[in-house]
Amino acid sequence: MAILVDEGTRVLVQGITGRQGAFHTKLMIDYGTKVVAGVTPGKGGLSIHGVPVYNSVLSAIHKHPEINTSIVFVPAQYSLDAVLEALEAGIEVVVVITEGIPLRDELIIVNKARSMDRIIVGPNTPGVISPGIGKVGIMPSQAFSRGVVGIVSRSGTLTYEISMEISEAGLGQSSVVGIGGDPVTGLDFVEVYEMFINDPATKAVVIIGEIGGDAEERLADYIKRSGVEKPTLAYIAGMTAPPGKRMGHAGAIISMGLGTWESKREALEDAGVMVFKAPWEISRALLNVIQG
């Protein structure tokens, strides 16, 4: 078992002829992901690493009705259109890698997907990997190995860092999901966490949060209210970040006094989540928790 990406995942790459799109198409295929088609308007008929390219999601879906997932690499100013197109074509999971999408566009796509009961992962996410099964994303495969820890994160490289430690500790990951670094995201911590709770392959969950917003606080609230009991560990980045400054991610900003590291740590600990101050402490603690 795994979440979001599993054996049935069939992938469409939107923006497949771009530098990033083509590069990661190759890496996804190399990892064993079933990439069945790509789209770049005006480039229909080409083939990228053996994957046929179409002019529209409509014609791609028409030829490959098995597509259920799309990964979006198109530039920020075209992402609104690309995601609306994927949703209209009936695609269930849309992973939006693109960084720098205007907030108003994000609000539109994210709310639309929710009202249609579809899933957007991201925007500004490294994607999703279910080690050994497939990846719909851009993360370096070598940091991951098949295992029992579910990871949900707002970050990219920090996630690879922690995942690698977990891999080296021999535990591995069931699935790793980047919810994205923007202020507004399709999936949030709560929703991915719920998926992990319901996934029997996941024995423990690691939350990788950061300052800004209240996604971690809402997760804490959910854990408290629902009383779920899967071991949950967290690392929150940004303890030393000053207020009012964006720390790389559009969403990583303490504004109006909200979204501080301290507030997140308190909320999570209050909900029974172990919060660690160094990334490498997570894998050790996991070993204790899982192997007793």
Binding site: T157, G213, A237, A241, M247, G248, A252, M256, K277
Partner: protein, 381 residues
């Protein structure tokens, strides 16, 4: 991107929000002209893109022309949160009955714009949110309709204003929404929004923050992005690097926002003080790495640089090349602690080793060494 108060006021007044009469001045002469045009008592407001202008003494009243001249000559020599005061907004002083807080911003959890209002106007919003949450109300804005009429009914009731002000409230809220939509603003804030003695709602202060990601569709604004950046910030931005200055002495370069923050935090946890946040992003070129490192090497406050790269799209050999060329260009002798792991890390380490730099693979070791180096007395080491 933050707009200056006078810019924000110019925009919102075009959308029908009342603001005090005022003129921008960059010199004592300018102030004199403005005071003469306005007549009577004036407010002198330092135009800097920093909060806490009031507390810092950047906003002053003057009853006479002489007083205005004296005060503005003081202000034009001031620095507020490190920023020079180069421009003053000279405004008529408004007789105020009541000060309110009103903002339009993003409610992340509802994934929507929301109106935020408080009866405690003029108070820093951070304090409002943390200390007086009961004096706050939040009203979601429907993205198709904009603020519905009930919004002004609610606000008028909540502010405890008389019912005949409902129309004015509606107009203001509607203007805020149109500004937010047309300028892709992520914040439009009036603090305080004043009820004047003559019964008008007037925005005494106005703040607009534009969503940086939307700037490509706002041609006229995009040029303004660099104007308030420090030299280092401007260089970073031009090279596609995310850079934030902090007050410590350990320079930090990493790839990825989360990893960069985590590295800063670890430095602090190990007893050091980060000098900056510098994220080279994903798939950075050696050129970008070089420019990033140069920024830190040329910053006199930086004593040690800690480089932490987890290669994925980013290639460790590219990083190593960039580091080497920065050092040789600047001719710096500052110690650089490097941790490289991931894509092409062995090549990267070899490149560094050739120049006598040892790269760690353990993050913990790298942090510990960097902190230790920063702690040494420079006259002794």
């Amino acid at each position: 991107m933050k707009l200056y108060e006078y810019e924000a006021k110019e925009i919102v007044s075009r959308y029908g929000v009342k603001v005090p009469r005022g003129f921008l001045a960059t010199s004592i002469n300018g102030v004199r002209e403005a005071v003469e045009k306005l007549g009577g008592e004036v407010v002198l407001k330092s135009q800097v893109l920093a909060g806490r202008r009031g507390i810092s003494g950047g906003i002053r009243f003057a009853k006479t022309l002489k007083e205005a001249e004296e005060t503005s000559s003081e202000l034009l020599k001031m620095r507020i949160s490190g920023k020079e005061v180069k421009q003053l907004l000279v405004e008529e002083r408004v007789c105020v009955d009541k000060e309110l807080y009103l903002a339009l911003t993003i409610d992340r959890s509802k994934r929507a714009f929301a109106i935020l209002a408080s009866t405690l106007g003029g108070v820093e919003v951070e304090e409002l949110v943390r200390r007086h949450p009961d004096a706050l109300i939040k009203i979601t804005v429907d993205p198709i309709v904009g603020p519905a009429p009930f919004t002004s009914r609610w606000l008028t009731e909540f502010y405890n204003l008389s019912k005949d002000l409902e129309h004015q409230v509606m107009k203001i809220v509607d203007s805020m929404w149109r500004v937010a939509v047309e300028y892709d603003a992520e914040l439009v804030e009036f603090n305080p929004l004043a009820l004047s003695c003559s019964g008008e709602l007037i925005a005494l202060d106005a703040k607009i923050i534009i969503d940086d990601n939307s700037l490509y569709r706002h041609g006229r604004l995009i040029d303004k992005v660099y104007r308030d950046l420090s030299d280092a910030e401007a260089i970073a931005k031009r090279h596609g690097l995310s850079y934030v200055e902090l007050s410590g002495n350990i320079g930090i370069i990493c790839n990825g926002a989360g990893l960069t923050m985590a590295t800063m935090d670890l430095v602090k946890t190990y007893g050091g003080e980060p000098a900056n946040f510098l994220d080279i992003g994903g798939g950075a070129s050696s050129e970008q790495v070089k420019e990033g490192l140069k920024l830190l090497l040329t910053n006199p406050r930086v004593k040690v640089v800690l480089v932490n790269v987890f290669g994925g799209i980013t290639k460790c050999d590219e990083v190593a090349e960039g580091l080497i060329s920065a050092v040789s260009e600047v001719g710096s002798v500052k110690p650089i602690v490097v941790r490289l792991i991931g894509t092409n890390d062995s090549i990267g380490r070899r490149i560094l080793m050739e120049k006598g730099v040892k790269a760690f693979s353990s993050l913990r070791e790298a942090v510990a060494v960097a902190v230790e180096l920063a702690r040494r007395d420079p006259w002794r080491s």
